[in-house]
């Protein structure tokens, strides 16, 4: 398989035998995108790294029971998504504050600041969406998962996924319009 899923299965088989080198390889292959996904779900980097670490702890502890019914990546998305939902249930929705610190001393400081402000507005708008609409947009738009994989991650049909996406993007459009007025 060209997407590396076969190699993931081999690595997981080694991880199941307690091979720490294989575990390091697995983390190396999947930590980056995992943190990107979770950061967009939670809206913050520090929590995202902690949550991805928790996910990998579960992988290490449960590797012996893992069955390669699906691609590792698809399965790991599901683990991360469930941990995000646990996080939302355990905590009030985080309110992100705009970082007012200017990147001083750089000729493009003003442009950088404006871009950072735009990014913060997007982050806040996405954080304001209901969790499943947010997850649908993060999975399909940012992570570019196929409809089948995104629907499987959320545990919904592809039709329901499309509905979540439409409602989420409509809400974002309203946020954009509020900004313009």
């Amino acid at each position: 398989m060209a997407d590396g899923s076969e190699e993931d299965h081999e690595i997981m088989a080694a991880v199941a035998r307690g091979d720490t080198g294989a575990f390091r390889r697995l983390v190396d292959r999947h930590a980056g995108w995992g943190v990107g996904f979770v950061e967009r779900m939670l809206g913050g980097r520090a929590d995202a790294e902690d949550l991805v670490q928790t996910a990998f702890l579960r992988v290490w502890q449960g590797a012996a029971a893992w069955e390669p019914a699906a691609r590792f990546r698809t399965w790991f998305y599901r683990v991360l998504y469930n941990l995000c939902m646990d996080h939302f249930r355990a905590n009030a929705m985080p309110t992100e504050e705009v970082d007012e610190e200017l990147p001083d001393g750089r000729p493009d400081g003003e442009a950088t600041f404006a871009a950072a402000q735009r990014a913060d507005r997007v982050r806040a708008a996405i954080a304001g969406l209901p969790a499943r609409q947010r997850a649908a947009i993060v999975l399909c738009y940012y992570q570019e998962l196929s409809q089948a994989d995104a629907a499987a991650t959320l545990g919904v049909s592809e039709g329901a996924l499309e509905s979540l996406l439409s409602r989420g993007r409509a809400a974002l459009k309203k946020s954009m319009q509020r900004e313009l007025h």
Binding site: R40, A119, L172, K173
Partner: protein
């Protein structure tokens, strides 16, 4: 064409302007409708939402992140195992100590049941002692 345009609009509302994010089955529809005036207007509106989303690009993960996570997990596991081993040892030691204390404090009663004595300890057979 009306039904096609409705589906085209539904896809643009859900997946945005870029055909690569559309379901495979609808990509031909994208190509057909995008060239019409109505289709182009629908895609332009979807592209504005795409542009809004594109403004948020998280910093890429630091190259050392994966190593840090792996080491943290692998350090955590042996630590948990050590804690479990120490807990078991402490429990066993306290059980032996309790048995010994009970054994030494109980008054003598040669008539007590020896089976009870060895299973539960002298506290359960208060008449027995050394």
């Amino acid at each position: 064409m009306t039904n096609d345009m409705e589906r085209f609009r539904a896809c643009a509302d859900a997946y945005g302007a870029d055909a690569r994010r559309w379901p495979e089955a609808d990509r031909a529809l994208h190509a057909r409708c995008a060239v019409t005036a109505e289709g182009a207007a629908i895609l332009a509106a979807a592209a504005r939402t795409d542009g809004f989303l594109d403004a948020w690009v998280p910093e890429p993960a630091a190259p050392a992140l994966a190593g840090r996570i792996a080491e943290a997990v692998l350090d955590e596991q042996p630590r948990r195992r050590r804690v479990a081993a120490w807990s078991a040892a402490a429990f066993a030691a306290s059980a032996v100590f309790g048995f010994a204390v009970g054994f030494m404090q109980a008054p003598a009663d040669p008539g007590a049941d020896l089976v009870t004595l060895f299973i539960v300890g002298p506290a359960a057979a208060p008449g027995i002692g050394l």
